[in-house]
């Protein structure tokens, strides 16, 4: 069910599942349909997911071109145990987290993110064609791509840094609440270069041409997360890392509320199985207002005031019980 809602909102599996596993065994396609209502606005979202061929999604019976068009009708933010990778995974996970938030907040920044990716691909192709040699014809076009990368890359990095500044106090606050004691979570954005990007690209050029990769730029930056001033990636326990990951998700949620944006539907995918009862209870208490759907393989904390409970066993709905 979380998959279905996630799919309607984002056009992909929130668990990264393949098409075959999304479609019922033996069927050739899955059909999803949802009615949403935000204040007094009602929308109908429908999707068809065939095992092969292109998927189709309609908003109010009109096909959409990009999933961003779905945003006014349905937005989700997903919490899952896999989020721990934001803390213990590589830098790409954390850059991806920041860019996801930026894209959600601005179509212009979405274009900047795409520009940076495309310039890096073009630059990589050019470096490969150079065959490791700096001849003049490669150099003049390399100058142009470097200038493009500097424009979009600098804009992206400034946006990431501004975002990190806004997120840091929110993350600390959420973490303190979840952990039950005060703890300072620091977020530090580290650029992979100093000074102007265009100069850094020029100094790294010889190395870039030899190794045929771009060694400085927004794709090499790091968001360092510290817990009580030690690096969380290497020094925090698994439990602390999970807690930081949850705090990161809660912080982006709070940021949306600060900006008076419609809160997305929260999808909590089996998060309680990984948390101790104390933290589970704290999470439930801390959940922002808005609609929350959660799945759990263990008993949810007593504080969960579920509106409706659906019990699932061996892939079939056992029964429905209405709570308070």
């Amino acid at each position: 069910m979380l998959e279905a809602i996630g799919w309607l909102a984002t056009g992909r599996s929130i668990r990264g599942a393949s098409r075959e596993t999304l479609v019922r065994h033996g069927a050739d396609r899955a059909i999803l349909r949802a009615e949403t209502s935000i204040t007094d606005k009602q929308d109908l979202i429908e999707a068809e997911i065939p095992v092969v061929r292109a998927t189709r999604t309609q908003l109010n019976r009109r096909p959409i071109r990009r999933h961003a068009e779905m945003a006014p009708a349905l937005q989700v933010s997903v919490f899952s145990p896999a989020d721990r990778r934001l803390v213990e995974g590589g830098p790409a996970e954390r850059r991806g987290y920041l860019d996801e938030v930026l894209v959600e907040r601005s179509a212009r920044l979405e274009a900047v993110v795409n520009d940076v990716e495309q310039v890096l691909r073009q630059r990589a192709a050019l470096l490969r064609q150079s065959g490791g040699k700096l001849d003049p014809s490669i150099l003049t076009t390399l100058d142009v791509w470097d200038q493009r990368l500097t424009m979009s890359g600098t804009e992206l990095v400034v946006a990431r840094e501004t975002l990190v500044e806004k997120l840091e106090p929110l993350v600390s606050e959420s973490y303190t609440h979840l952990a039950g004691h005060f703890e300072h979570v620091t977020l530090t954005y580290r650029r992979s270069w100093t000074g102007e990007l265009v100069d850094a690209l020029r100094s790294a050029r010889e190395q870039d041409v030899r190794r045929q990769v771009t060694t400085v730029g927004p794709h090499r930056d790091e968001l360092e997360i510290g817990l009580g001033f030690t690096p969380a990636r290497t020094h925090a326990s698994q439990g602390e890392q999970r807690c930081i990951a949850l705090a990161l998700r809660l912080a982006t949620h709070d940021l949306r509320l600060q900006d008076a944006l419609e809160p997305p539907v929260l999808l909590l995918d089996d998060v309680f199985s990984e948390l101790d009862p104390h933290r589970s209870a704290a999470l439930v208490e801390r959940l922002p207002s808005g609609q929350v759907l959660l799945t759990t393989a263990v008993d949810p904390p007593p504080a969960v005031g579920a509106h409706r409970v659906v019990e699932v066993a061996r892939n079939s709905l056992l029964g429905r019980f209405s709570g308070q």
Partner: protein
Amino acid sequence: MYVGPLRSLVDELGRLPGIGPKSAQRIAFHLLKVESEDALRLVDAIVAVKERVTSCTICFNVAEGELCEFCSDPRRDGSLLCVVEDPRDIVAVERTREFRGRYHVLGGALNPIEGLGPDQLRVRELLDRLSDGEVTEVILCTNPNLEGEATAMYLARLLVPLGVRVTRIASGLPVGGDLEYADELTLGRALEGRREVDA
């Protein structure tokens, strides 16, 4: 599925851009059904295009004969040169009815992924055209996407030192349309570049 001539017709149609197997089949059966005369008119048009339409030897626009309609028209202003990626872009500029200069078709934009560098585009030919000093302004009219912008930037670096005036088309909101239909990117840029309104 089909044999002989019908099969090869379906195959050939399917090779055309934007035509999938289903459309290819539908067009093939349509041609099978219509009067010979109507089908042969299509054949004639294709033959005529292949035999008579060439590339202009000066600007590389499509032409019938040596020169295209703009290069052979003496009323066109030879001091203004509009650089485009593709002959189809000339059609778009002509629709403005504003531009009275001449054109230069690059044949694409810088795109290392597709193997397009300056040597694959008609950049040298552009420089040759500027050597006699007749052209005083070059308008860079490449697409407003990443590759088009990079190409404009590259050409500007090449042309400015030659002492020619180099300009770039501005990108903005489409005029005469509704804001509602403007794409979010153009609108976002327009918001970013907003100006004070004089009272």
